[in-house]
Structure formats: structure tokens, C-alpha cells
Symmetry: C2
Subunit: 362 residues, 2 copies
């Protein structure tokens, strides 16, 4: 049942294994660990669920484990340092291997710890949330937050392998499954109209955690992201289309306070807003817009932003991106269903209309 | 008068400029800065001496500056974070350029800040000590200390350019000039017998800061290190010979407490110890050993370790390396004058004799 996708990045290439029960497959791990010692990094939520299973698959190695507090608010230097403390106290050398067991926060921090410990050691990702499986498995983005900005400190650093056990989604809250689906839908919208068509018929099996459907959706999402990242490893150009819905979404997350809207929920509403603006530009027709809205809605995601945000709120928060780019506001829009581009050529009044209605014209 | 050395590392290649008054050469800087904003990182000792001169060379850019406390004890996360704070407060984007103005500590921290800020920005090294000019200009090692170990957190990250103004050595304490010469001598010993011969006739002009002699010595040292690093960028093999004298030297530094013996002083005594052990192995003859001792001594460096260290002290501190390598103690020794190798094949009793006498048999 396990599918394999190779991410081709020259001497930084690595495989992603996807399927039910991968976590118990000791051969998958052994194949990618050249050290005697390994350090599992997980958090207090995931540890009771999956640490013992992972340790069983690592029976041939000397295993240490560090359990971090759970939550985006802990994605900081102090928590990262718990990993360094454990590595040094347990005398892990440059030859050690770190294994990230958890969601995006654990993966980002473990990846940055691996990039920085003794100037770089091996690491393996074992993402246990749908969002991290389809988003963090490819791209090599690692890092921590700074009080003055999210993900401001980090590295581009590739894992030795990513091992995705689709059965771990059985313990994921349904709201987080929906949030993960936002990123899955995104891949269909930006580069793969066929996949979008498949999703239209398979949202229910996905939400019900049908293993074959999940494996297909995760594999296709990772393959789509891999194709984009292979083209643009350090985010100079095309990679920006991965941010479809994210400029709107970040504004929502910031305005509401992190954690109140899940990232995927904000991206869901943001993608509808991007689709609506693309429709105003006459790039998407009525039918395409309706299909997009329907899939987002069926996934259990919001199709418009929070009712307490107005146009000025959006513009203030979105213009942070503007400053960073030393110029005009650039957005990811859909030239057609299955093809996104980054552009600053859109009608300001159409954008205003989208922001006024918060995403969906009734 | 300015000489240029290109360090060839594929798409991470960069030039090193060496000569008097480079710091005032605005063209050298402009050539390697593609941003509008730059951030100078320096320390409280170097800032009053050279910040104004550097700012004058950067008159075409928007310049911010962060001044760190001076000293190895500040090479930690808290100080590194002062750089991130300044970058974020002054709204520096991913397109910014950091300029490290100072010695090894400033260079290591600025390099790691550049490697990590928004997952990597440009940086230029302007090393102002002889040690950092010949040691940190090549190799891409950046990082900070952790309470449990030196340089434990960092990255391999290459600068856009290194600009070495040999006139900055005029303000360097003579003891630090001598300490820098230890690393210069090292390059002659490990890979370049001709350069060693040249050094034998030029130690006095170097200590008197003759600009042409300094330029030649720094250029040759950087070229030697570049050839080794080009062969082994991430320290898998041959690069270890750069540690000639360092295993003994680190033991001395640790035993005496950092700062009491300068790094270069400990390396000076350590190189004599390595030479003496190589002599015991009959790899070096009497004359070669004497030539090495003489050059180290003429440089104003100690030719034996501290009188309060005995064999057991050395062995206890040197065996840290042993643990790290999961095996026998490995040392860098001289197969002949101008050719070093890493080996665990030496007589334990000969090593014992060297450690008993602390470096030089009388």
C-alpha cells in the first residue's frame, strides 16, 4: 500500500513514503539512518499517541527523545534550545539523526535544529497532521518565530526522508482534517485541474479518512509541491504561487489572533477571495467560481472571512507584504482553474469589492 | 596593491580582496551588494575605530548598524538575537546585506545571523584581526556557543565577498598579531613547504606590520585553506588537517580557562607538540623540528604548554575528541614539513612523552 515519491533536488534529493502503517515499518527508517544514535523530537500531545510505535520501529538504534510543549506559541528559541540541550546532554555527535514526530511546529523546529546542530545533521520527518503531510513534507522550510515576526529565523534544509503514516490522521480532530484539506485543494487550483476534478468527487471519503483516498490526495499534493520546489528551491519566483489564498488568510489570522482561526480555515476563505477576484478579472467564469466555493464548503471550511473584518482591516494587514516587496501589492490569482500566477495587475476596485464582502458575493 | 583570491565553490564562489585601505574602497562593496539597505554588525571595540570609515564606503546605501559587546563570552544566542532584533526593528527584508566588521566572534555570529535571517540573506565579511583574516575568511563556518559546548549551533554559509584591509592590523595588540601568525605558520606546515621557507625569513617584517609581507602571508594562507575547503566543503575528510596543533591547543585553552591563553598561543604550543610527536615517529628529522620550533618562537608564541598541566590533564581533555569520533584518538601529524595527515597510528608512549614535557624536549 505504501507509495513513494522522490523529490529531486540534486544531492539533496529524498523520498517521501505515504501509506497506512508506515510508522511501524522499521525497514523504511533503517534505510535512511546512518548513525547509531537517534533523537526523536515530538510534543506532549503526539508523544502518548505515537512515540512507543516509533520507538518499536527504531529498535536497532540507541534512541533518545525530547518532548516539547504543544502549540505555535512555543515555536521559539527557548523551545528550540530544549532540543540542543538534549542533544548535548546525551552526547549526540555530528553523525546523529533527528526524527520529527508531530505536526508543522515540531517539523519546523526539528528541521532548524538539524540544520544548526554542529552545523548540520541528518533528519527524518514523520508528519502526523494532514496539513504538515501535504505542506511541510516538501520545500525544506524550517525555522522558528521571533517576537517581531513569524518564521523570521530559520534555514532551507532538506530531510533524508519523509515518512507519512496515513493512519495517524485517525487521531486528528476533524476540524484539523478540514484545515489540511484547504492546502490539498490549493494544489488542484494552482497547477492540477484534473486533481481538482478528482477532489470534487472525493471530499467525503477524505473527511471520513478513507486510506486509499488519503494516500492519493497526499501523494498528488506532495508531487505538485515537489514539481514547483524543484523549479525554485529558495523561493525566487514560481514558488510564490504556493501562497494562493495566503495573503488574505494571513490577514485573517493576524486580525483574529493566532489559533482562533486555524491556518487552513483562513486559507480556505482566502482562496475563495482570490477566486472571486480572479472571477472579477474575467479569468474564471461563473461555473469555475462556483465549483471552487463548493469544494471549499464541502471540506468543512469557511467560504468567507470573519464578520468583524472590514476592507480597511484587510488592507492594513495585507500591506505588510507590500512593504516587504518594496513595491505594489502582489497577489496570487487564478488565470484559470488549475493555473495560478503572481500578479500586481488587478483592479483595485474589484479587490475592494472582495474585501468588503469578505470573500463571497451573495 | 589590492590582491584578489577567488574561492571556488560552484554557485557559492566568492572573492577575497586583500590589501591596505580596502575598507575605504566603495567600489569593492558596491560590487557585492544588491540591496538598498545594509546592516553593519560590529562590536564596541571595533566600532570607534572603523565604523565611520566603513560607513563612508557605503554612502550609496541605507545603512543601519548594531554594536555588540566584545568577547567570546558573548558569542551566544542572546547576543545573536540583538542582530535579529535590529534587522526586524529596522524592517530589513530578505534582500538585505549584512556586513561583519570585526574579528572571529563578530564574523561567526554575523554569518550565522545571515544564514538564518528569513532563511538566508547576503553577507560580506570585513575581518579586522589577523586570526580572522587567515582563518574565518575561508570555510563558511558560522555559529554560536552553547553552554555545553563551543560552536555547537551554526551553519556552513558562504559570504558574498571578504574584504581584508591590512591596515586594520595597525590597531591590533601585538600579542594578537602573534596569535594570528600561529595559523599562518600552520598553513606552511600542513601543505606548503615553500611558504614555510618564506615565513622563516619574514617573521620580523610581519610582526612589524609590513603591508606587502602581510598581504602575501594572508593571501597565501587563504589560498591554502581555500584549496583544502574546495576539496571538502563540509569537513568530511581532508579538511581535518586544518586542526594541526588544535587538539593539544584546545586542551590547553580549556584547562587554562578561555581568554587566559589566546587561541593562537595554544595552537602555537600545540603545533610544537604535534611536530615533536611527528619527530618521535621519525617522520620529521632533527633539523625540521628545530626549524618549526624556531619560527613559532620568533613569532612571539609559546613553544610549550602551561607549566601547571600534566599528562593526565591533557589526556582527559583530549579524549573529548575521542568520544566524538566513536573510536581511537586521532591526531593531525606531519608526515614531513609541508604535509600533514590525520592518523590514529602513533606510539602511545611517544605521545605520553610529549605530554609529560608539555611540548618541547630540552
Amino acid at each position: 500500500m505504501t507509495k513513494t515519491l522522490n523529490v529531486e533536488l540534486g544531492d539533496r534529493s529524498y523520498p517521501i513514503y505515504i501509506g497506512p502503517a508506515c510508522l511501524g515499518n522499521d525497514d523504511l527508517f533503517s534505510r535512511h539512518i546512518s548513525s547509531r544514535k537517534v533523537m526523536i523530537v515530538t510534543n506532549e500531545t503526539v508523544s502518548p499517541l505515537y512515540e512507543a510505535k516509533l520507538r518499536a520501529a527504531l529498535k536497532d538504534f540507541e534512541v533518545d527523545c525530547v518532548v516539547l510543549p504543544d502549540g505555535e506559541q512555543y515555536k521559539n528559541w527557548e523551545t528550540l534550545n530544549l532540543i540542543f540541550d538534549a542533544l548535548l546532554q546525551k552526547k549526540h555527535s555530528r553523525k546523529t539523526t533527528l526524527i520529527a514526530l508531530g505536526g508543522g511546529v515540531v517539523g519546523d523546529m526539528t528541521g532548524f535544529a538539524a540544520a544548526s546542530y554542529q552545523r548540520g545533521v541528518d533528519f527524518i520527518q514523520v508528519p502526523t497532521t494532514l496539513l504538515s503531510q501535504v505542506d511541510s513534507s516538501v520545500g525544506g522550510k524550517t525555522g522558528i518565530n521571533h517576537p517581531l515576526g513569524k518564521n523570521m529565523i530559520g534555514a532551507f534544509y532538506q530531510p533524508n526522508a519523509v515518512i507519512i503514516d496515513t493512519l495517524t490522521l485517525n487521531t486528528l480532530p476533524p476540524r484539523e482534517v478540514s484545515a489540511g484539506l484547504a492546502e490539498v485543494i490549493k494544489y488542484g487550483l494552482i497547477r492540477d485541474a484534473d486533481f481538482f476534478g478528482w477532489l470534487e468527487g472525493n471530499i467525503q471519503p477524505l473527511r471520513q479518512l478513507d486510506q486509499a483516498s488519503l494516500t492519493h490526495a497526499i501523494l498528488t499534493s506532495c508531487a505538485c509541491k515537489a514539481a514547483i520546489v524543484e523549479e525554485d528551491e529558495t523561493e525566487g519566483g514560481v514558488r510564490a504561487i504556493l501562497n494562493l489564498g495566503h495573503t488574505f488568510g494571513h490577514a485573517i489570522e493576524t486580525h483574529q489572533g493566532y489559533g482562533n482561526w486555524l491556518h487552513g480555515e483562513a486559507v480556505g476563505a482566502g482562496m475563495v477571495m482570490a477566486a472571486q477576484l480572479s472571477h472579477s478579472m474575467q479569468w474564471l467564469n461563473d461555473e469555475a467560481l462556483q465549483r471552487i466555493v463548493r469544494v471549499v464548503e464541502q471540506s468543512g471550511l469557511p467560504i468567507k472571512g470573519p464578520s468583524n473584518m472590514n476592507e480597511a482591516d484587510y488592507m492594513a494587514l495585507m500591506s505588510v507584504d507590500k512593504k516587504v516587496l518594496d513595491g505594489a501589492l502582489r497577489l496570487v490569482l487564478l488565470k484559470r482553474l488549475g493555473y495560478a500566477l503572481v500578479t500586481e495587475e488587478f483592479s483595485a476596485s474589484a479587490l475592494g469589492d472582495v474585501l468588503k464582502t469578505g470573500g463571497l458575493q451573495h
